[in-house]
């Protein structure tokens, strides 16, 4: 399996990564090699084997519904580049321009 430079560009765009043309070329090569290795795994016969999405057979750990310690706004905002009152202040985003 190979990946095209165009697919690398789209993937980088989705991840908000700015890649130079040289980087795109290098990523195309390197990701292609990784996908090639995956292809070998894909060749293994897994007929009748349940898909595994986690390496450890665990139940999902759960906790009781209890409110624990909170940071509070002052500590939450301590590392914010910009704040306005108790809000994080960010470059303007278009109203509602997102999915739910």
């Amino acid at each position: 399996m190979t990946i095209t430079p165009e697919e690398v560009r789209v993937t980088a765009e989705l991840a908000r990564l700015a890649l130079s043309d040289e980087e795109v070329a290098r990523m195309t090569r390197e990701l292609g090699a990784i996908l090639g290795a995956m292809e070998r795994l894909a060749a293994v016969d897994v007929e009748g084997v349940a898909p595994m999405t986690h390496a450890v057979a665990l139940d999902c750990p759960e906790r009781e519904d209890v409110v624990g310690p909170q940071l509070g706004a002052e500590r939450a905002l301590a590392g914010a580049p910009r704040r306005s009152g108790q809000f994080f202040e960010v470059p303007r985003v278009i109203a509602h321009d997102k999915e739910g």
Binding site: R63, G68, A76, F88, V90
Partner: protein
């Protein structure tokens, strides 16, 4: 009649009223000062990991069972990636190809006819924070109190056929989540949110037309208006031979119209992947059984039982089952010894009217169920008349005193002594010779006048039935 029919599916986000968030222990309560309900996980600080809130799963399970869904014994969380300032992790933990619940339906009555709208699925996910955009300002403000609050998303099949039906479906859904005590259903505060997928197709067609997604509707009325507007817009496009563009549209309640949301050029690609920080969610058979046995009788079943057992009209039964605490109140009045139909009628008329007037919920009703039962019994055993009972009710409401206490203290016991009633009736007849003449000449309606005179003289205490009979005898 239009040659096109609408096809509508709803996606509803229901905020689960847990105390803490879905994956961390910060408070999940509404409001609070901005960013106070935060912890390192909510802010997506490095090294933090999600730990699932057990109660959120219990609540989600309740909804799945109440709607007859198949519950997956093993379901998975997935990451849904998108960039937005109110989503600190850069992804939302949701469920994708293996949601915890599938199938099921929501039942309701549409114009008196039973309807069921099938559900595709219900899944668990976390809410995002809230961004505020101040008009004209170059920046947006972000509050992360809501980030991580547990949600279930209830997705219907595209089988709703009108805006009105969509609104009824939503009402039934809201009633159900409130009934199950898993969400307060407050659409204005956003604890219940609804998006609609709308398309139209020629009547009789089996394939679906291009759909649009409607957002930003925060009341039943808005949902209905927005869908009506969209169906008319798409129908007009189709009739002119134009194409419907697949897009997301925002409802503008002030203008009564919708407009397309500005979208990025790239198509949305959420790059879902299995959440590596959470093992699969196992829901054991015992857990499902426990939830099933603890489910309350559901609204439609209770409504039918009220009609059947108490002899109520469907309208009254619907009124008394809008909220579980009201239905429970009725049953507590009956359990305390009141006649079923009488109890139901008192609650449907006097109690709900007074609560409305005082803007109170049934939980704050100043008349406890046994006290109302006491009043009902006084009417049933003839101690007081129905008319006096209404006055007594008002006094009970204002003072919190019992019915019997008020009746005794104020001498309101119904007059049933035949001799006393006869005396009062004779007095009324003798004092009004003119009316007697007219009555005997055939003006039957004047009986009401005489009854009124007797009631006035006895301060409303005379048994109306006995007065009626006595007067007819004296006047014949």
């Amino acid at each position: 009649m239009s040659r096109y029919e609408p096809v509508i599916g709803l996606e509803c986000h229901v905020q689960l009223q847990t105390r803490s968030k879905l994956f961390s222990a910060a408070s999940a309560s509404f409001g609070g000062e901005p960013n106070d309900h935060t912890d390192p996980y909510t802010l997506a600080l490095p090294g933090t990991l999600p730990v699932l809130n057990r109660r959120a799963v219990e609540y989600a399970l309740r909804m799945a069972l109440a709607t007859g869904c198949r519950v997956r014994r093993v379901s998975r969380f997935a990451r849904k990636h998108y960039f937005y300032p109110d989503l600190p992790k850069g992804y939302q933990i949701s469920q994708y190809d293996e949601p915890y619940a599938e199938g099921g339906a929501i039942g309701f009555l549409l114009d008196g006819q039973p309807r069921r709208v099938a559900l595709t699925r219900i899944h668990l996910e976390e809410d995002a924070g809230k961004s505020t955009h101040v008009g004209g300002a170059p920046t947006s403000l972000v509050d992360l109190n809501r980030a991580g609050v547990p949600l279930i998303e209830v997705v219907s099949e595209p089988e709703i056929r009108s805006a009105k039906e969509a609104a009824e479906y939503l009402r039934a859904l809201r009633q159900l989540v409130r009934w199950l005590d898993i969400c307060d259903g407050n659409m204005e505060e956003g604890s219940l949110r609804c998006d609609a997928n709308v398309s139209v197709r020629p009547v009789g067609a089996t394939t679906l037309g291009t759909r649009t997604e409607l957002k930003n509707m925060n009341s039943f009325r808005h949902v209905q208006q927005a869908i009506e507007y969209e169906v008319a817009r798409q129908t007009a496009l189709c009739e002119r031979g134009e194409r419907v563009v697949q897009e997301t549209r925002l409802w503008d309640a002030d203008r009564g119209s919708s407009h397309p949301m500005r979208s990025k050029e790239e198509a949305h690609d959420y790059r879902y992947l299995p959440e590596p920080d959470l093992p699969p969610l196992h829901i054991a058979d015992e857990e499902v059984e426990r939830a099933r046995t603890s489910l309350p009788e559901l609204p439609l079943a209770r409504r039918a039982r009220f009609v059947e057992r108490l002899g109520l009209t469907d309208q009254d039964a619907a009124l008394l089952t809008t909220e579980r605490p009201i239905a429970d109140y009725v049953e507590q009045v009956i359990a305390a010894g009141a006649d079923g139909k009488r109890a139901a009628n008192w609650v449907a008329s006097e109690v709900l009217r007074e609560l409305n007037r005082a803007e109170r919920s049934i939980a704050d009703c100043p008349i406890a169920p046994p006290a109302l039962a006491g009043l009902c019994r006084l009417v049933d055993d003839g101690t007081i008349s129905g008319k006096i009972a209404k006055d007594v009710f008002g006094k009970m409401w204002a003072s919190g005193r019992g019915a019997k206490e008020i009746v005794e203290a104020e001498g309101l016991v119904q007059l049933t002594d035949e001799a006393a009633i006869e005396a009062a009736c004779r007095a009324a007849v003798e004092a009004n010779p003119q009316q007697v003449g007219k009555y005997r000449a055939g003006n039957d309606k004047l009986i009401g006048f005489f009854v009124g005179q007797v009631m006035k003289a006895t301060r409303g205490k005379a048994n109306p039935e006995m007065v009626n009979q006595m007067l007819r005898r004296l006047l014949s």
